[in-house]
Symmetry: C2
Subunit: 311 residues, 2 copies
């Protein structure tokens, strides 16, 4: 059994490779819900949806999120009713938020709802929201304290980040199954996701870091920073704002308490020695997942490094 | 001030004429909510929406309901998630249901929500849901007890109707403003709507019939039955199933306790004497509202018969 800690687009692309290397029913993905947000009374879970749509083959490949070929007619009408519509929810995409919201209102937990639609999409891996309780990632910036989607989507990640708050994270519990999935895994992978606002909230939940240390499985992380820049999203700008070095080394350092193996891009070969000085095995490869071939190669390498026999 | 009791399509078409004859801010429409229904956790008010979309110029003219040129992508996706999707909710249309549901959940009443979006659509008439409390029209048929939309839309009104139940009508109160709108009107019009399941639920609410009798204004009704058939919808089949005569006379008879004037179609001239024997003034005209010209003519005639000076 493989357990993956995941954010949105980068994780989803890696998982597309992983399900081709490991039988999906042996994979548990623990997904960040710190970016969850309510629009028009509907509960949206961006990272869960991106992972689900990507694995179901429905994702808009260019954007990396939402449903390919979707239309935005409902959103246009909501705008006419006076709503702010900077968060692009397509008509096909809205179905999932309507469904989720209905089931949550009826008393199901986020993890029960997620399990039900993951199965509707024909997927056989397990997707666990990191928590059934609300954790809200907020970003302190020179423009004030912003909700994550406000910072990211409404304002285009243009503000200087001076801090990150994970509201509710101290009170929240990991979803039932999260700790066990970590403790009982044969291998654990931190996907190439934003270490601060995708993997960070999962790590900040009660007991998660301890479980990663206690697990007998090896823990492997893949750097989302390549050549000093984030492949997708604002990780680099956030790290810079927080006074961190923007490098794969910095990511390895953030994870060094519990990570055994760190996969970084060939272009960062100069950082190998520093990463190894953290007591972490550094592996160099091509981490840019252009197509299915590269995704599968990266997943195969991770599985090999974790010394897991899959087939 | 004119007060109109209204159902869906027939009433909406009549109101398109009325707003051209009377200043819209002098019109209050009391709309049936017995057909209201929840789909996918969203509150849908079919008659209010039909009236609103029609007056806003957005309605699908052919169907008489929904938004013209709408797409059904969200509904397709809901179907993939396992929902029954026999009730056609278009993408643009869904915005209104999402909006209404959000505001209801936040604690606003149906009439407050309705007022807010009627104004968003640029309309200056007053639309009052008949009640802020739930009244559910159910139809007893040879296929069992059915919700109205189930009878009407899902099963195509094909079942023999043996009874009509208005669940909750005894406990429900008319919306604030309904009784006053009737008592203080200069003229009252029962639109050409289904007398059993559109006008009937409004009349069944506490105090409504009494107010119609007590109002000093004249009460005028327009027959939705022309030449022994309903122009739209299942009124004729329902009346037949309940053992009623399917005629304009039968409609006049149902309203005879409080109606002063009854407008019926020229084709029903043979029924004039019988209608007048009910103590009701019968007026014959062309009631079929093919276009705006006919709608306006019918509205003008009603206003003239009510002896209201408008301009």
């Amino acid at each position: 059994m493989i357990t993956v800690l995941a954010g949105g687009v980068g994780a989803a692309r890696f998982l597309q490779g992983l399900v081709r290397v490991v039988s999906p029913d042996k994979i548990t993905v623990i997904v960040n819900t710190g970016d969850d947000v309510e629009f028009f009374g509907l509960h949206v879970s961006p990272d869960i949806d991106t992972v689900t749509y990507t694995l179901a083959g429905l994702v808009d490949e260019t954007r990396g999120w939402g449903v390919g070929g979707d239309t935005f007619h409902c959103l246009d009408s909501l705008k006419n009713l006076g709503y702010e519509t900077w968060f692009n929810l397509g008509d096909r995409d809205l179905a999932l938020h309507i469904h989720r919201t209905r089931l949550l209102r009826e008393g199901l937990s986020l993890s029960q709802v997620t399990a039900s639609f993951v199965s509707s999409f024909g997927l056989s891996l397990t997707i666990l929201p990191m928590s059934d309780e609300r954790v809200e990632t907020r970003v302190n910036t020179d423009a004030g304290l912003l909700g994550f989607q406000e910072y990211m989507v409404k304002r285009g990640a243009k503000d200087r980040v001076t801090g990150i708050e994970l509201a509710g994270v101290k009170e929240a519990h990991p979803t039932k199954g999260v700790i066990r999935a970590i403790l009982e895994a044969q291998g654990i992978i931190l996907a190439p996701s934003n270490p601060l606002i995708s993997i960070g909230p999962i790590l900040a939940l009660k007991g998660v870091k301890e479980a990663l240390k206690d697990s007998s499985a090896k823990v492997l992380a893949i750097s989302p920073i390549v050549g000093g820049a984030a492949l997708k999203g604002p990780a680099d700008r956030m790290m810079e704002g927080l006074g961190m070095e923007v490098s794969a080394y910095q990511v390895a350092q953030l994870y060094s308490d519990f990570v055994d193996i760190f996969i970084m891009d060939n272009v960062d070969s100069g950082l190998k020695g520093r990463v190894e000085s953290l007591g972490v095995q550094a592996i160099l490869t091509d981490t840019i997942m252009k197509g299915l071939r590269e995704k599968e190669a990266l997943a195969s390498l991770a599985i090999a490094a974790l010394e897991i026999k899959c087939r």
